[in-house]
């Protein structure tokens, strides 16, 4: 049975039709986790509003009865950001699925938060426009979830993350007030509250409308695939391309285990014996792309590429990318389970950190496949494990935590695009000190004084960090990494 206050539920029933209030266990079950399926909880109730007015009323009631609220888009998040609260309401924004207006002059689109990422580009395609941030989950994930996580994608190296491509948003605050943030002017008065909201993981307010900036489709785009017999050479090539003054639209790396898995799955034409491949996409004007393709090909060969292939037509370009885009499910086929890590490091540390990850994997006796946004230094080591084997998931989590610490030590961060959520709450104690955490809590308090939105996520309490850090010796190593924690 659900655990919510009866009086609260009675009031909710007055603002929402009964078929949009899910209370039975069977109805709530599909919402018990997001893409990080190791964390689960049944929400007290699932609510499915479809007007802003009703969202306002729900949040007012939740404030009055002090009921926790977790917003949910498509539930593809990989850090447990949308994991329900057992005593709270899960607010599904999925029914807010309309593109409200498209402004061809300013090249913007106003959409509801439940609109899928790819649906925006589809809706504006006839105008020769598109929405640039393209997470691999773009067929499913929502723009509301993208704003909450500051989602990135393959094309973010050149075109920026969600924060660079959203111009304004409407949010409903806990308590029910509406706040308009950002604006369609190119700058706006007051503090940049939009910047605070993007990437805030549903902790500050519920996003009810988003205006995104659209870009004209580039006239030309070409993809190159190059193979290397060492990951260090491939990593060096990444830096060389950038040093030459070229910003590719995408620059992705896959290591041998990922190459083989992808090849077995979709036959993208990748060389199975290469230690690493680099996929590079160049776009722009016809002349620009031709020049850049020639330059990049030369640089790749200079850096020791054993083979460089330029896609000859659109279908070959699509095939090159198909392996990358299907890399996660491909890895899913070769291992009963996999765990996706999301650290970012300075590009120049790529070679060293990849070697460090390999060492750690050996130490933990686990296999790791690497598929990642090399141009941004955003790593996605996929740890292969079998949840059925006792202790293996715990070892996997410990290896993941060590990899993130390695990223922090290399001058990077514990999350590039997937967010902290529940998953990396302890690693926040590695990345930040007490002062920063206090400042985060002060910021949160401005928008949600009672701490009802997504409680327990994204920013750890000071006492939790004190406990976590007490378990660790300095230098970022667990006293006994071989021992399972808990």
């Amino acid at each position: 049975m659900h655990s919510l206050d009866k009086r609260f539920l009675n009031e909710i029933k007055r603002v929402l039709p009964s078929h949009t209030i899910l209370l039975s266990e069977e109805q709530r079950k599909p919402y018990e986790c997001d893409g990080l399926s190791g964390y689960r909880a049944l929400p007290g109730a699932v609510l499915l509003p479809d007007t802003v007015d009703v969202v306002q009323k729900i949040l007012a009631l939740c404030q009055r009865y002090q009921i926790p609220v977790v917003a949910r888009g498509a539930g593809t998040g990989l850090s447990g950001g949308a994991t329900p609260h057992p005593e709270g309401v899960l607010l599904s924004m999925a029914r807010f699925n309309q593109v409200l207006s498209i402004d061809q002059v300013a090249a913007t689109a106003r959409v509801q938060p439940g609109v899928r990422n790819l649906a925006i580009s589809e809706a504006v395609a006839d105008f020769g426009l598109y929405y640039a941030p393209d997470p691999s989950s773009q067929i499913a994930c929502t723009i509301g979830g993208n704003v909450a996580e500051n989602a990135g994608g393959v094309h973010c190296l050149k075109y920026g993350l969600t924060v660079h491509n959203v111009v304004s948003a409407q949010v409903v605050l806990m308590g029910g007030e509406i706040l308009e943030i950002g604006g369609e002017a190119l700058d706006n008065p007051g503090y940049d509250l939009l910047a605070a909201f993007v990437g805030s993981e549903g902790m500050l307010g519920v996003v009810t409308e988003v205006t995104v900036r659209l870009l004209p489709r580039p006239i030309a785009a070409k993809a190159l695939m190059s193979s290397f017999d060492s990951t260090e050479d491939a990593a060096a090539a990444v830096a060389r391309i950038i040093a030459e003054g070229i910003i590719p639209a995408g620059l992705e790396m896959m290591d041998n285990p990922a190459i083989v898995a992808a090849e077995d799955f979709v036959s993208a034409g990748y060389p199975r014996d290469a230690a690493a491949i680099l996929l590079c996409e160049l776009d722009g004007g016809i002349e620009e792309v031709e020049t850049d393709v020639a330059t990049v090909s030369r640089l790749l060969l200079d850096c020791g590429a054993i083979d460089v292939r330029v896609a000859q037509d659109e279908s070959e370009r699509a095939r090159f990318w198909s392996g990358r885009k299907n890399a996660f499910p491909a890895v899913g086929r070769i291992s009963p389970d996999y765990y996706c890590i999301d650290g970012t490091i300075p590009r120049r540390m790529l070679g060293k950190v990849l070697a460090g990850i390999a060492d750690l994997a050996t130490q933990y006796q686990l296999k790791v496949a690497n598929v990642f946004h090399a141009g941004d230094g955003n790593l996605h080591p996929l740890i292969l494990y079998d949840a059925g084997k006792p202790g293996e998931f715990e070892r996997t989590e410990a290896l993941g935590a060590d990899i993130l610490q390695l990223c922090v030590r290399a001058g990077g961060t514990i999350t590039g695009e997937h967010g902290v959520g529940l998953e990396k709450i302890d690693q926040m104690c590695v990345q930040f000190g007490a002062g920063e955490l206090e400042q985060f809590h002060a910021l949160k308090k401005v928008f949600d004084p009672d701490g009802l939105l997504n409680p327990g996520k994204a920013v750890p309490t000071l006492s939790r960090c004190a406990e976590f850090n007490a378990m660790h010796v300095h230098g970022g190593h667990l006293p006994h990494p071989e021992l399972p924690r808990f």
Binding site: D192, G435, E436
Partner: protein, 367 residues
């Protein structure tokens, strides 16, 4: 100044942060100010003292704290102490063939990177290459409690914690004193070319706005005094192809024009009256203005010179869905316009969340 390692110990656990003596002393100053309630006035190069509301408080000098602390061209990131001059940063980048994509105005040779980011002003490239806020990757700052804090970092993608670094942009030093800043930089385009067209403001505006939806390497646009100028940047062949497509005349003094526009050294800016800035969503219809004006940013920004009271301008800006700020000259006591009641309240609470005693540049951004 010698950087020393210190271990800051608070709340029973340690966080290791590299803190310079300067920063440590400054934090001490802020803690004293916070205890006494006496405001501090953060001063960079003192080049933008006309901007915003009247500065008050004991000056707190940043320009001595200068120097690029980390620059690795292949990372596309530069990190510098907040008092480093904009010119020094631009010179360092130029040596490696790179630049600050948002082309910030300096309004004087002494402008510092701290003041530049605090003001959040961007130059002619803004609609095409992003604003100051788009390029800030990380900062070290001192909040109103005198705590030394580090947010973001030197990497392109980072979603750990709220994006406090971006919050500092345009805050005019009211949320914290920045001591170190990391910015994303870009390669300088190999070729730039400015085209000039003689046309009415209405025709010029239509041409500017039409470029947003076209795949053309535009990096600046402005209409003034019956001339529209469009800057193209990129590889030579693409720039030439785009120039051929757009028509117009080649302007040999183009680079100078954009520089003067950015630094407000065109004759227009010397005319009588206060300088007003109207920021709005780019539209095809020219605003019904009777005073001299200049349009840039693809129609998203109007500069207006007038000695008359601003009531008409406020109406015009509002009816176009934009907002207006007094940029230079005249009465500086007006409060920030364009924020609704909820927005204003949250702005004030946010200020409190960072600076509970209201000692950092109090009243510079809003009352």
């Amino acid at each position: 100044m010698a950087d020393t390692f210190r271990t800051l110990s608070c709340h029973g656990f340690d966080s290791r942060l590299q803190v310079s003596d300067f920063t440590q002393t400054l934090a001490e100053t802020v803690r004293e100010a916070s205890a006494s309630g006496d405001p501090l006035c953060i001063q960079g190069g003192n080049t933008k003292k006309f901007l915003g509301r009247e500065p008050v408080g004991k000056p707190c000098f940043m320009s001595g704290y200068a120097g690029v602390t980390n620059y690795e061209p292949t990372e596309l990131v530069i990190t510098a102490k907040a008092g480093t001059t904009l010119m020094a940063i631009e010179a360092t980048l130029a040596e490696a063939g790179q630049m600050l994509p948002f082309e910030p105005p300096g309004f004087g040779v002494d402008a510092t990177i701290g003041g530049t980011i605090a003001c959040g002003l961007s130059g002619p490239a803004r609609p095409y290459r992003g604003a100051a806020r788009d390029l800030v990757l990380g900062i070290t700052c001192i909040n109103g409690n005198g705590q030394i804090l580090k947010f973001g970092g030197q990497v392109m993608k980072n979603v750990a914690g709220y994006d406090v670094s971006r919050l500092m942009v345009g805050a005019m030093g009211t949320l914290g004193i920045m001591t170190e800043i990391s910015l994303k930089v870009l390669p300088t385009p190999k070729q730039t070319k400015t085209l000039v067209f003689e046309c009415s403001s209405s025709a010029g505006l239509k041409k500017m706005t039409s470029l947003f939806a076209r795949s053309i390497p535009v990096t600046a646009s402005a209409w003034h005094d019956d001339f529209l100028r469009i800057r193209l940047s990129g590889v030579k062949d693409s720039v030439d192809a785009a120039a051929a497509e757009l028509g117009g005349e080649f302007d040999p003094d183009g680079d100078q024009f954009w520089q003067k526009l950015k630094e407000h050294r065109l004759d227009f800016f010397n005319g009588p009256g206060s300088l007003w800035r109207l920021s709005l969503k780019p539209k095809n219809e020219v605003l019904p203005l009777t005073d001299p004006y200049l349009i840039e940013w693809g129609g998203g920004l109007y500069w207006v010179k007038t000695s008359r009271p601003p009531s008409d301008l406020i109406k015009i800006a509002a009816s176009a869905g934009g907002y207006i700020t007094r940029f230079n000259g005249g009465d500086r006591t007006e409060n920030l316009s364009g924020l609704g009641d909820v927005g204003m309240r949250l702005n004030q609470q946010l200020k409190k969340g960072f600076d509970p005693q209201n000692i950092l540049n109090p009243g510079r951004l809003f009352a």
